[in-house]
């Protein structure tokens, strides 16, 4: 799930390469994308090793069907405009940081090692996206309105981050995974504090979209995968 989150979000951000609204945001978002892909490789290499046999990190990344991807609905939402990109990143970064902070104590040594490595990078991501939420929210009337719209639109998708699946419950009980209830509490506090500083109203929308972690996705994932998997499907086993 974590690996898929980072991969799909990494892909979304990579779509902005050369298309960012300014050089600074272009470079930053693609750098974040690169960090996420690096982390994904660690997870997938580990997963491939556990699976053994013929499995490689590339099989896991490129050759699964849409319902086999377990990323949350939030990360597959499109790059509608910069405010959407930043809102999605901000919601996810705060969550990602809190999640890794728990995973560094995972009883699984390799997961703990990857988390310890990744958390240093995600701290930079969180700083970047939080600053931009404030800059746009507390900016001009137009940037404020766009930021508020994006936050309102994407907030219901964050419910998926915290919906515990049976697999997550068993991982938590085994001391491998994280406790999402605890994460949610801290997440709300941190998100509210940044939004307040950004003069953005916290969306009190009780409705939440869920299902991504069990393979039930929005229509966007199919398009992402057709782009992402094209090379491996058209030329099986191709390498650079």
């Amino acid at each position: 799930m974590l690996g898929d989150n980072s991969m799909i979000l990494g892909h979304r951000l990579s779509e902005l390469c050369g298309h960012g609204p300014s050089l600074e945001t272009d470079i930053a978002l693609t750098n974040i994308s690169l960090d996420l892909f690096g982390q994904v490789r660690h997870y997938f290499q580990y997963a491939a090793k556990i699976k053994g046999a013929e499995t490689t990190e590339d099989n896991i990344a490129f050759l699964r069907l849409p319902n086999e991807y377990k990323n949350t609905l939030l990360v597959e939402q499109p790059n509608t405009d910069l405010a959407y990109v930043i809102a999605r990143q901000f919601f996810y970064d705060v969550y990602h940081l809190l999640l890794l902070d728990q995973l560094i104590n995972s009883t699984d040594k390799q997961i703990a090692a990857i988390a310890t490595k990744s958390i240093k990078e995600v701290k930079y991501h969180t700083r970047f996206s939080s600053q931009w939420v404030k800059r746009l929210g507390d900016g001009t009337a137009e940037s404020h309105e766009k930021m508020q719209t994006a936050i309102d639109y994407l907030y219901p998708y964050t419910a998926d981050l915290f919906k515990e699946t049976p697999l997550e419950v068993s991982l938590k009980e085994a001391g491998i995974g994280a406790d999402l209830t605890k994460i949610k509490e801290s997440w709300l506090t941190q998100v509210k504090s940044v939004l307040e500083e950004a003069t953005i109203t916290f969306p009190e929308n009780p409705y939440g979209h869920v299902g991504g972690k069990e393979g039930v996705h929005s229509e966007h994932l199919g398009y992402i995968l057709s782009d992402l998997q094209y090379m491996q499907r058209a030329y099986p086993n191709m390498t650079w």
Binding site: E24, I27, I32, D35, G38, A113, Y124
Partner: protein, 137 residues
């Protein structure tokens, strides 16, 4: 070696195992570094294996004094201490020294530079842009 990327070397007769660790997870140079190590050692008649390890996680503290000097000579400002790094990246104080003229009168242009490990700075005195290697702890 000076970057702290090479963590361990085991020599067993003509067999060598080199353990390296990435600076950032997505560092695209890792495959190249591994290939270069292998080519260099194989040329000396060794059978080389390069293994990627993640723990303990790399930190900028592992860059040696010599490594820092080489970075500066190349035009990349070496990482400051953690607290100074924070002040520099938030723009609260001018602590990053220009690699061209040595002035401290510099400003951050972008938190992310040409690669994930660096931020882009500009010198206000000589106007030269340069990279600053961000502190990673």
């Amino acid at each position: 070696m000076d970057m702290g990327v090479v963590r361990d070397i085991e020599v067993n007769g003509k067999e060598v195992l080199v353990k390296i660790t990435p600076t950032y997870s997505g560092c695209p140079a890792m495959d190249m570094i591994a290939a270069d190590i292998k080519i260099a050692l194989d040329k000396e008649g060794y059978q080389t294996k390069v293994e990627l390890i993640l723990s303990p996680a790399w930190t900028t503290d592992w860059i040696t004094e010599n490594g820092r000097q080489k970075l500066e000579e190349y035009g990349i400002a070496a990482p400051l201490t953690e607290s100074a790094d924070k002040l520099a990246l938030t723009g609260e104080s001018k602590l990053v020294k220009c690699t061209n003229c040595g002035s401290n009168n510099t400003t951050m242009v972008s938190q992310f530079g040409s690669t994930a490990c660096k931020a882009l700075f500009k010198c206000i005195d000589c106007l030269e842009p340069f990279d600053y290697f961000k502190c990673l702890k």
